[in-house]
Amino acid sequence: MTPASPIPAVQPDSTPGESPAGVRPPPATEVPDDREENAGTWTGGLRRAWTAKLPPDKLLPERQPAYVASWIYIFGVATLAAFLVIIATGLVLAFTGPAWYHTSSLGLFTNSMHFWSVQLFFVFMVVHLWGKFWMAAWRGRRVMTWITGVVAFLASIGTAFTGYLVQTNFDSQWISFEAKDGLNAVGIGAFFNVADLGQMLLLHACLLPLVVGVIAVWHLLLVRLRGVVPPIDAVDKEVSTASLADDSVSEARP
């Protein structure tokens, strides 16, 4: 038994017992297509716009161009992996609190995981940045991909900085009192008070990770939309898949 379909299907192999005589499939003009069915709804419009721009096989591809098989292309996803570890360990720290992660062995381990995954996050992101800079990754209508990466980098610096401030140890006290003079000097100390633990904690645990996460998702969607940037000398040699045809055209532009 086949599942019900909104579109009346032609059944060429139906038997006389199942199909009464004289019944014929409706003409093509009577078949409601997807566009007519959802006309006027914003959800349908959004879905059509999304799937037209970024169909599932482009969003989650199974094959990549040959030039992606290089270690320099690893660091973007390595950054993402480190970010996921940061989020996971950060959630544990948020639910348990400093009385746990400053005293128990498992707490200290989790706290260290959070700290060191941040170090790896920045190492991977900087190498990713260098790689993309030297291959001019803004080519082929990828300017927004580059810009979202830069903004994600800056937001990550702010997130890491507030993280250093909420360690609730002498390091954080030292860092905050070193930073406050500089921030006061540029006039933002009244709004961004590094000596205010509550403000820094909320920024670090609530707002800034959300900002980094949203920009990172945006960045990833743009990467899928425009494709992974090819090396400068690889356009004519290795780019042969259909998905990269647009990029090849874009590369030809001045």
Partner: protein, 53 residues
């Protein structure tokens, strides 16, 4: 002293400098590691990389 003690994050870092440039040894190590990673990522061949076009 603990036999496996190398350094504590609470200890002050050692700084090196050339003229106006001053950088702590830990930061210098991180920068050199990143440069090494970058160079190795370009130079080292990717395993089974050529059959995925």
């Amino acid at each position: 002293m603990d036999p496996i003690y190398l350094a504590s994050v609470s200890d002050p870092a050692t700084y090196v400098g050339w003229g106006w440039l001053s950088v702590s040894i830990p930061n210098l190590i991180v920068i050199l590691v990143m440069i090494a990673l970058f160079v190795l990522a370009i130079v080292l061949p990717f395993p089974n990389g050529r059959d995925k076009s």
